[in-house]
């Protein structure tokens, strides 16, 4: 929908998010949501959560959710740009770190930094869970499905794809 300015702004923001995604892509979901749904009105809550569900239903790393976001807003070029932007900056840092890491391992501040970030990534994960739950629930039954799925995942070793399939059937049957 948007022109080139929109695409560049998008790329810059996603590249920045790449650097902030400490603890994986799931920790930046709240920020992604704020950026594409609340601030830029590029998509609705329903589209955001549907794309997230698609990314979960596809094989591969969670980062492909960002690919889908780019695709939804800017088409194929947006998909490629989003993928490069979310991987690129972090990739360069990871490459540099490959050469430094063993010297870091035993440093006291490495451990300090690491344990210092744990509560942050935990808080971000909880925020992501909260946000997706609220954004996806169109009725009270949405909350029930979310809670039931979470319980089954925590208590069994079932492949999550089955749970997505059951939820799809429940949706088609008009329960949600």
């Amino acid at each position: 929908m948007s022109g080139n300015d929109g695409l560049w702004g998008f790329i810059v923001h996603i590249s920045l998010l790449s650097l902030l995604a400490i603890g994986g892509v799931n920790t930046i979901l709240p920020e992604l949501h704020r950026f594409v749904v609340l601030d830029n009105l590029w998509m609705s809550n329903e589209q955001f959560t549907a794309l997230f569900a698609l990314a979960q239903a596809a094989p591969g790393p969670n980062v492909i959710f960002v690919t889908l976001i780019g695709w939804q807003i800017f088409g194929l070029i947006g998909a490629l740009a989003a993928t490069l932007a979310i991987c690129g900056p972090a990739t360069i840092i990871a490459y540099v770190a490959t050469h430094l890491s063993t010297q870091w391992q035993h440093l006291r501040w490495f451990k300090l930094l690491r344990s210092g970030l744990v509560p942050l990534t935990t808080g971000l994960m909880i925020t992501s869970a909260w946000l997706l739950t609220a954004a996806s629930a169109q009725s009270s039954l949405g909350y029930v499905i979310t809670a039931a799925t979470a319980c089954v995942v925590l208590m069994t070793r079932i492949n999550p794809l089955w749970l997505l399939a059951v939820a799809a059937v429940a949706g088609v049957a008009g329960f949600v």
């Binding site: 400490i22 980062v63 909880i126 992501s128 997706l132 794809l161």
Partner: protein, 195 residues
Amino acid sequence: MNTGAGPLHDGESVQAPPALTVSVTELFRAFLLVGLSGFGGVLPFVRHMLVEKRRWLTASEFTEVLGLSQLLPGPNVVNISIYVGARFAGIAGATSALLGLMVMPVVLVLCLGAAYTRYGDLPAVANAFRGVASAAAGLVVAMAAKIAWPVLRSGRTITIAAMVFIAMAIIKVPLVWTLAVLGPVSILWIWWRTP
């Protein structure tokens, strides 16, 4: 011993120079398989591939690489692919590992996306997606619970995690400010507590 499979980065950059040689093609193929397996995150599959199947890393090396990848920004699996690729075959290795990891998932997810745009407006499909979206949220709830359960044991972690939640979910502060303020607070808090 190393018969020319690209420049190996040994010496000070890795604790023990890798005794085995892994080619750029092998890296691509291994990560291609990893990319195709695993739903909702591929970490267990990366571990299986690198430690058990190919034996490129020992279990403790993998744990170290994982710890580093979680500290570094960016997607964890992407960081692991870069680390492993670079360790065995330099920049070419890192590039081919990353490409192998990403190419199939990106193609497949775009096919799903195209199908969604095309049929997403049909009432039955829209209804199905409402259900799937709630279930996908449930997967993240379970992941958050698994992460939070062992961590939220001290007043410090609970306070910081709660402040992150309030900042992000309720006040809707941009992530960069949340991290810039609460990151140092969290680290200083630990530093001040540890003798």
